[in-house]
Symmetry: C2
Subunit: 417 residues, 2 copies
C-alpha cells in the first residue's frame, strides 16, 4: 500500500512540502482549517484597505489540483496521537499517517496576557485583517461625529516594531495623511496620531546598521511617533498603559511576540514562544516520522534561531520532502541549512529598507525592490496582474480603494438598508 | 440659514439625489448604516466567488468627497419623527431636516415566514454575498469528505427566477461544471444538482416573449433544473418543501419576494411588499417635505408598478433633487416618469438575454452586451479596470478566483493555523 504523508497547515512551509512531493510515491493529505494559502507578507495591505482578500490568497485546493497524489481536507486538527500515528480532527475523524509534517504556524504572543487580545488584535489571518480594517475605518467614522471622543478615536497605537508593526504604522499614517484626508468635514485626519511602541532599543531590530536608523527617520517623516524601550503594562478598551504613562487610543494593534501553534508542544521541548526544538533533519526528537517546520519550529544556526519568515519555511518544506524521499529510497536524510537571501521591510509610499548580504539600501530604491520582489513571489499570475494594477492605481491616486465596512450578515433591522 | 436635506440610504436612489444637489444651496447629509455604495447588479458575482467586495463597492464618503455641501454619516436610522421634522438614529442622535429623502431600499420577502431566512439567505448586501459564498464553498468541501450526506451537500436550490435567482443558479452551475471540477478527488462536482424554483409560469417573467423561453433553454444547457409553478411551503436546515415534494439540499438561496425598508411605512399606505404609495412628485401624501424613492416606493405608470431596478431609482433621485430645487426657487415641482432603457439578465458564460425597446436577443450577443453595459456603468474607473481584468481572466481560465472562506475573527483554538 502507498504510504501516507499528512501535512498540517497550508502556509508557506506546508505548501512547499506538498509541492515537492508531487511525484513521490506517497499519498499526501494537506489539512488546514482555512481553505486558502495566504501570502502573509502582504496581509497588512488588506488590513489597511489597499488590497482585497482574494488578491493575496488562493484556494489550497486549486494550487494542488494538478497533483494527483494529493488530497486537501478543510478541517481542524485537535491533537496528534503520536503513538497511534494518527491525527485527530475536531470532527472526531482520524487520519493515519506514516509521516506527519506539522506546519501550523504561529500567532502573535501577548506575554501572558491573553485578555489583551480582544482590545489589540494581531494580524495573521484574513479574518484578522478585516477586523483591523474595520477598527481603523470605524475610528475615523466615529471621530467625524463625536467631538468628545475625537482625540482618542484619532489615536492609533501599534505594539511591536518588527516588519508587520512598522508596515501597519506606516500604512495608517499614509491613510490619515492622504487617502481619507478630503473625505471628512469635521475632522482633520492629517492630525491623527500614530504611535509605534517597541520594547527593544530600535525599530526593525533584525536588520543591520544603519537600516534601523534609516527606518526610524522614514517613520518620523510620515509623522509616526516611535517609542523605543517602552514596555506595555496594560491594554484595555480605552488604550494602552506604558508603565506610568497611559495613551488613550480607540485602535490598538498588536504586532509583538510569537506564540507557536500548540499542536507540536506535547511532543517535546519548546522555547519560550512555544516553538519545538527539532533535530538537524527537522524531525521531532524521538519521532523520526514527525517533522515540525516553519514558525512552529525552533532551529538554531550559527548560534541564533532561524527567523520565522516565509523563505525559511519554504526551505524547510523542501528539506522535509527530501527526507521523506530518502526514507523511501533507504538513503540518509539531508540536514537543514537556512540560506538567507536578504530581507526587506516597507514603511510607506516610496519608503522602505532592504538588505542583501552586505548590501543595504533605504528609501525609494528599497521600496521599488520591495514592490518588485513581492509581485514576483505572489503565487498566481492573475494576482500578480491585479496587485500590480492596484498598486499602480494607488501610486498615481494616493487612494486606498478597499475601504469597506461590511457586517458579517445583515439582520432585519429597521433603518437604511 | 441654509436649509437641510437628509438622505437615508446610499444606494442608487440616494446617491443620485445627493449628486444632483451638489451645487444646490442646501446642506446635504447622507446617512447609511454601511459605509459604501454597492453596485448591486454584480453582487451575485461576489456571492459566487467571481469578484471581490471592493470591486463593486465604493466608500460613499469618497464618492461625495468633492461635494462641499455634503456630509456623510455612518449610522442607522431608527425612525422618522415627521411632526418634528427629525430623523432619529439608533445611537439616540437626531437629525433635523427641511426635506427628507427615504431611499432605504428593500430586502427579499419570505411570504410571512421570517424563520426561513436563516436557512435560505437572500442577497442584498456584501455581508449576504459573503455568507452565500461561504455556504456554497463549504458544501463542496464537506461533500468531499462526507459520503453519507453527499447528495444533500451537492444539491443547491435557488428560490425565485427573477434576474438574481437566474444569475445565482447559472453561476453555481458554472462553478460546479468548470471552476472546481478538477479540485476534488472523491466527488464529481459536475454531478451537482442545481434546482431553480419559481412560483410563476416562467423564468424571468418580466421580459417579453420569447426571452423567458430562451432563458429556460440556456439554463437547461447549463444543467439547471427549472421548476415552474412550484410553491415553497417550507424551508428548514435539511432543504425545501414544495407541497408534497421535498428536496433535500444543504444550500438554499432566496431570491424571491420584496420587503421594503420599514422606515416609510408609518407615513402612509403601503402595498403588499411594504412599498409606500407616493404622489406624482414622489412625495409622501400629506408630507410634501418627505420623498420616498427606489425599491421602497410604489409608483404606478401605465397601469403597472415601476420596477425595482437601479435606473428607476436613479431617475427618481434626479426628479427629487429637481423638486427640492423647485421648492427653493418657488416654482412647481416636476412629476416623475420612468424611462425604460431596456433590461438584461445574464445566465452564465456566453449566455444571457436582453431587451431594448422592441429589440430582443439572447445568447452570446446578449452576454457581450451585458458585460459591456455593466462595465460602463460601474462607478469608478479603477473598478472598471479591475472587473474587466478579472472577467477576462475568468473567461480564458474558467476560474473563479475569489473562492475564499475566511472566518470573521480567528480564535485561539488548537490546530492548524
Amino acid at each position: 500500500m502507498t504510504r501516507r504523508v499528512v501535512i498540517v497547515g497550508g502556509g508557506f512551509g506546508g505548501m512547499a512540502t506538498a509541492r515537492a512531493l508531487a511525484r513521490a510515491d506517497v499519498t499526501v493529505t494537506v489539512v488546514d482549517r482555512r481553505n486558502h494559502h495566504l501570502f502573509q507578507p502582504l496581509l497588512y495591505q488588506v488590513a489597511t484597505a489597499g488590497l482585497s482578500p482574494a488578491d493575496i490568497a488562493e484556494p489550497i485546493r486549486s494550487l494542488l489540483s494538478d497533483q494527483r497524489n494529493t488530497q486537501v481536507l478543510l478541517g481542524e486538527v485537535e491533537r496528534v496521537a503520536a503513538t497511534d500515528r494518527q491525527v485527530h480532527l475536531t470532527t472526531g475523524e482520524k487520519l493515519d499517517y506514516d509521516w506527519l509534517v506539522l506546519a501550523a504556524g504561529a500567532r502573535h504572543g501577548y506575554f501572558g496576557h491573553p485578555e489583551w487580545e480582544q482590545h489589540a488584535p494581531g494580524l495573521k489571518t484574513l479574518g484578522d485583517a478585516l477586523e483591523i480594517r474595520r477598527r481603523i475605518l470605524t475610528a475615523f467614522e466615529e471621530a467625524e461625529w463625536n467631538p468628545e471622543a475625537r482625540e482618542r478615536l484619532l489615536t492609533f497605537v501599534v505594539v511591536g516594531a518588527g516588519a508587520t508593526g512598522v508596515e501597519l504604522a506606516g500604512a495608517i499614517a499614509d491613510i490619515a495623511r492622504r487617502a481619507v484626508a478630503d473625505d471628512f468635514r469635521s475632522i482633520d485626519t492629517r492630525k491623527a496620531r500614530v504611535v509605534l511602541v517597541e520594547g527593544g532599543p530600535a525599530v526593525l531590530n533584525a536588520f543591520s546598521a544603519p537600516l534601523p536608523d534609516k527606518a526610524a527617520e522614514q517613520l518620523a517623516e510620515l509623522g509616526v511617533e516611535v517609542r523605543l524601550g517602552a514596555r506595555v503594562t496594560g491594554v484595555d478598551e480605552d488604550g494602552v498603559e506604558l508603565g506610568e504613562e497611559r495613551i488613550s487610543a480607540a485602535t490598538v494593534l498588536w504586532a509583538a511576540g510569537v506564540d507557536a501553534s500548540p499542536l507540536a508542544r506535547p511532543l517535546g521541548e519548546t522555547d519560550r514562544a512555544g516553538r519545538l526544538h527539532v533535530e538537524a533533519d527537522l524531525s521531532v526528537p524521538g519521532h523520526r516520522e514527525i517533522f515540525v517546520i516553519g514558525d512552529a519550529a525552533h532551529v538554531e544556526q550559527d548560534g541564533k534561531p532561524v527567523p520565522g519568515v516565509a523563505p525559511a519555511a519554504q526551505q524547510m518544506g523542501a528539506v522535509v520532502a527530501n527526507a521523506i524521499r530518502a526514507d523511501l529510497a533507504g538513503s540518509p536524510r539531508p540536514t537543514f541549512r537556512y540560506t538567507d537571501k536578504g530581507s526587506m521591510a516597507t514603511i510607506g509610499r516610496n519608503r522602505a529598507i532592504a538588505e542583501v548580504g552586505s548590501f543595504t539600501t533605504s528609501g525609494r530604491l528599497a521600496w521599488l525592490m520591495w514592490l518588485f520582489i513581492h509581485l514576483l513571489t505572489l503565487v498566481s499570475l492573475r494576482n500578480k496582474i491585479l496587485v500590480f494594477t492596484k498598486w499602480f492605481w494607488a501610486w498615481i491616486s494616493f487612494d486606498r480603494s478597499s475601504r469597506l465596512l461590511y457586517e458579517s450578515r445583515s439582520r432585519r433591522l429597521p433603518g437604511a438598508d
